[in-house]
């Protein structure tokens, strides 16, 4: 699923910040545009893929692409300011420059989803790699069955894109289920574990594809739950996160058993990784 024009291990392309949105106290979205107009026009990605973003003089970080795959003007990344590079990226303003190489990795199995109900289970910022799937499905609504969007956060304040969730909840054949471990004033959704919402989800498990992205503990519980409801293992996918430094399967940090998460993933079928996920330390 890797795009043929992908910028490989070589130097990044220069890109500029065209817009910056503060999503929560620590989460922000950068819309980037490659400075080379032809490269920007030719840039394509598959939902679930990621780019390496380079902050001048500091380093690179792998960030999933959250923009609409059909948007041509910019490439969106929603980022939590948590480490050396991402805290520096958080300080960027429109007009500032970064480096970008990508897209990398294997995205979500969109080709195999036709005719199916689509279930997205995400936790925290795991919603970012999944949001482009939502865009993809909504643009081709007639090709899919029900769309179920399940998102969990630790605290009500951590939920980003509230207006988007409200909007999606009003669409036909679309169900939005949100949970916060800790609610807050005016929190309209469930208080508790995200996996407690599964009883409310309406989909046909024998004709559904489920995609998960979030903390591994959450994904393990969600997988058990979905499989117990009759979802075939072959229809369950997840996006994995590991230390990715080169993004081309070379540097070795992101190995998960024999897989290089940056190249063979980040999206895997549940069956490919379930054994290693049951052991801490892989």
């Amino acid at each position: 699923m890797k795009a043929p024009h992908a910028i490989d291990a070589g130097p990044p392309h220069a890109a500029s910040v065209v817009a910056r949105t503060q999503e929560s106290p620590t989460i922000f979205t950068l819309e980037l545009r490659l400075d080379d107009a032809a490269a920007q026009a030719a840039y394509r990605f598959a939902p679930g893929q990621f780019n390496m973003l380079y902050l001048y003089g500091v380093g690179e970080v792998p960030i999933s692409i959250m923009s609409d795959p059909e948007a041509r003007n910019g490439i969106g990344h929603t980022i939590r300011a948590v480490g050396r590079v991402t805290r520096g990226l958080a300080a960027l303003q429109p007009g500032d420059r970064v480096g970008l190489r990508g897209p990398f990795g294997r995205g979500w199995p969109l080709q195999e989803m036709g005719g199916c109900d689509v279930v997205l289970v995400t936790g925290g910022l795991g919603c970012a790699p999944a949001v482009s799937v939502i865009h993809y499905v909504l643009r081709r609504r007639e090709r899919f069955g029900k769309l179920v969007i399940i998102q969990g956060v630790k605290h009500a304040d951590d939920l980003i894109w509230r207006e988007q969730y409200d909007h999606w909840a009003k669409l036909p054949d679309t169900q939005v289920l949100v949970a916060a471990d800790e609610g807050g004033a005016l929190w309209p959704w469930h208080v508790g574990r995200v996996t407690e919402l599964f009883d409310l989800a309406r989909f046909n498990p024998t004709r559904a594809v489920a995609m998960m992205c979030g903390p591994e503990g959450m994904m393990r519980v969600a997988a058990d739950n979905l499989l117990a409801r009759g979802l075939p293992e072959s229809q369950l996918f997840l996006s994995m996160e590991r230390n990715m430094q080169c993004a081309v399967g070379r540097c070795g940090h992101c190995q998960l058993g024999g897989a290089f998460v940056c190249r063979d993933g980040p999206v895997f079928n549940w069956g490919e990784v379930k054994i290693l996920l049951s052991h801490r330390g892989f």
């Binding site: 291990a9 400075d35 690179e60 420059r97 230390n243 330390g281």
Partner: protein
């Protein structure tokens, strides 16, 4: 190296310098064994007659000591800490460079290494097998690593049959030695009066032709063959099989991982001396004036704290999971990636472990018992 005995030639002991001189004349920078800090390392030879004689290395878990070879041979030493790996996969090198102008615009440019044509004299069968694995990692069809390729293509490899394996060697059990079988330009087997010499490439043939050597006699070839068999038989360590994938992956919660973790210092020596380890960190080094920055890679170790680092947590926060990652990658999941084990039996991780952890002993302990969950 004995598959075509009619093509084997004989290089008299007194003419070894002529081989080195020939390589130098052909433009190769020649690396050969040299003693540095009490160990045999590969260093540039400035004199064709400068190869040392009579060196040997006594090796044991956590121990490496130079000794004298009573027969005063050139290659009676078993491997030192490094041989080919740093010449193809540099310990540190720049990948690209970026300049920033006053307006903040960034200009990126690839950094291409200047690799001299290099001949390495005295490489062993285990290291040739390891190089083939590094090639598989860095040079897969369609995804070649330009930096590795640049260095790798310049190498001329003069292999030597191991006649005196170290006590830590187990290449016979991994199927990678002690006699070189592939991957060399020239292979030598040292006998008392000289070397049986075989070319493994057109480049190697050209060198042998230039030396005008006589053919090796059947007796010389047979002596070299028997020397290799004796060296294999002399090895005291072994692995219990060439594919330990299921044996190890079915014992991921074995109590032995805790035992070895209690001894392991997580220093990373084993990964630094391992000829197949390929992990490297990517680092950025900004210039002091702020106008440029280099993006480099340097060898990294899965025993380091940062190897499994993710925002907010470490995938492998304790030594138990790091040792298990190393051993299961090397001996188990390497099969998934490259179709064979990642261990070539060189024994370096045993000798250079400061606390003497013995990979073969750990594998034996892990696999001897009933399968654990």
């Amino acid at each position: 190296m004995f598959s075509q005995p009619d093509r084997a030639r004989f290089l008299p002991l007194a003419h070894l310098h002529a081989l080195v001189a020939q390589l130098m004349q052909m433009g190769y920078q020649c690396l050969g064994p040299a003693v540095e800090n009490g160990a045999i390392v590969m260093r540039e030879l400035d004199d064709p007659a400068g190869l040392p004689r009579g060196l040997q290395a006594e090796q044991a878990p956590g121990r490496y000591r130079l000794t004298r070879d009573p027969h005063n041979r050139y290659f009676a030493w078993a491997n030192g800490p490094q041989a080919i790996k740093p010449q193809a996969f540099a310990a540190k090198e720049s990948l690209w460079r970026v300049e920033r102008d006053d307006a903040g615009a960034l200009q990126f440019a690839a950094v291409v290494p200047a690799a001299p044509a290099q001949a390495i004299i005295g490489v062993r069968a285990c290291d040739l097998a390891a190089l083939a694995l590094q090639d598989a990692h860095f040079l897969p069809a369609g995804r070649r690593d330009a930096h590795y390729a640049q260095r790798r293509e310049q190498l001329f490899l003069v292999a030597v049959q191991c006649a005196e394996p170290g006590a830590t060697c187990f290449c016979a059990s991994t199927g990678d030695g002690p006699t070189p079988t592939a991957g060399y330009d020239l292979a030598l087997a040292e006998l008392a009066e000289g070397f049986v010499a075989v070319a493994g490439s057109a480049k190697g043939n050209a060198v042998l032709d230039a030396l005008s050597l006589s053919p090796a006699t059947p007796q010389q070839i047979e002596a070299a063959r028997q020397q290799g068999q004796a060296a294999a038989a002399a090895q005291t360590r072994s692995l219990p099989g060439r594919n330990l994938r299921e044996a190890l992956m079915s014992r991921l919660e074995h109590p032995r991982w805790d035992e070895v973790a209690a001894r392991c210092l997580a220093c990373g020596n084993c990964t630094a001396v391992c000829p197949t380890c390929f992990c490297h960190a990517e680092i950025d080094e900004p210039a002091l004036d702020g106008g440029a920055s280099e993006h480099a890679r340097q060898w990294d170790s899965c025993f380091g704290e940062a190897h499994g680092h993710l925002h907010g947590f470490d995938v492998r926060s304790d030594i138990r999971t790091r040792y298990r990652q190393w051993l299961t990658h090397k001996l188990a999941t390497w099969h998934d990636q490259f179709g064979r084990s990642g261990c070539v039996g060189c024994g370096r991780c045993i000798a250079w472990c400061p606390v003497g952890i013995d990979l073969t002993e750990e594998v034996a302990a892990l696999t001897a018992s009933e399968v654990q969950p």
